[in-house]
Amino acid sequence: MASPSSVIAPGIDRGTAWFWEGVAAHRLLLQRCASCGTLRGQALPMCASCQSLEWDTQEASGRGTVHTWLVSQHPSDPGEGRIVALIDLEEGLRIVSNIVDAEPSDVAIGAPVELTFRTYGDVTLHQFVLAGS
């Protein structure tokens, strides 16, 4: 499917800058509690398991599987025709991304995927390709 020439840029604040700086450097960083080691998604200030405010990051292996997906078709979307997917990361977190270099007919729930990075205009995003493709 066609690649978009530009995408909506993420809005970034003090709580999420570390994540997007990682993506810009082609690293998918996962937030990890420095106290108990529990991983958490979506950049949150406190560990829900042990209530620690201390955290560091762990780089994702980049391996995952498709939990669910759809074709993004709204005509106003600069990436019209993009495949949007919810990815189960090997580490146990789920993350929204796109599957690139694939047709919808190639995509299936449960399919293994691998991390890649793409830059659209001046925005870099974490993306996935079908494993082995």
Binding site: A9, G11, T16, W20, H67, T68, W69, L70, S76, I109
Partner: protein, 385 residues
Amino acid sequence: MSTTKSAIAGIGQTEFSKDSGRSELQLAVEAVHAALQDAGLRPADVDGMVTFVQDTNDEVAICRSIGIPELRWTSRTPFGGAGASATVQLAAAAVDSGMAECVVVYRAFNERSGRRFGQPVVGGPRPAAAIPPSMSWYLPFGLDTPAKFYALWYQRYLHQYGVTNEDLGRYVVIARQYAATNPNAWFYQRPITIDDHQASRWIAEPVLRKLDCCQESDGGVALVITSRERARDLAQPPVWIHAASESHLAAGDTMFNYFHPDIAGFPEAESLGQHLWKATGLSPSDIGVALLYENFSPVVFLMLEAFGFCGRGEAKDFIASGEISPGGSLPTNTHGGLLGEAYIHGVNNFLEGVRQLRGTAPNQVAGVEHVLVSAGRSAAILTAG
């Protein structure tokens, strides 16, 4: 335990249209005034107001216009349409606690001729300069409309239980059948066939076609809520807010839940069901009419299963066998739902629930004692009396 001592004493609305030709404030004022007239109350009797965070109408502006001298209780529910039933819960909480005696719930907007909810969150072909960090996990990847936000979730359900888009269409045909005989519905006298459904274009392939999506509507609705005791002395037969609850699970996000371990269901609605059945001692078989907030057709399937009207994965057969159709065991969205009647953010479902319990609905179901009004993350059980 989430049961209440409050009742819905009045309902009011404007016409439902695609272009109201007047301000959102006027829609709100007309709806609130109609609800007070229905209840047989005067503006001066109102001392509380509840609406959605998203509603543009200022409480005090409505008071100034209608002649309500003073409010002692206001509250607003977040979470968009998922909070539709929470408005009633907030009003009942105020009345039960004594913080207010008579609370008006309102929701009014020009959601078709003004800001359309079906349009992208940030519009146009150009990248937005800045979007909220919390939405940045979704928007850059192309999830920029409700249809897409929700379809990503529904797709997992369709996959897990072998539900097809044609199965979804069978619900849509039923909703439009009810709407066709409801003069209040936008799609009055305009039923569709399954072929019409299957010929409508994809909105979020391979999950949602155009006819799977709720309408965008202009209109206003209002409810008057007071104590059961007082309601018995008013103009209409009271409708008891038997029980009401919200459920917002930590795995969820603002509008949807991508992160719960099992998203081939509706975890919040399942929790609501368990809670409300326990609170009331009722069971699914006691419900005469179900009014299930359907921004998109699949959510009806998810809610039928979550509340235990059928088992997981069985909704397509439950619907296909006529259980939610006229004459079925659980007539559902008997006004045509948000697909067929109008999208007044789900509060119009309460008006239909009240009509069914008063015995005045266009598609009246015989012998209804209990109605479930569910917005997915908030729900209420209404009972006659």
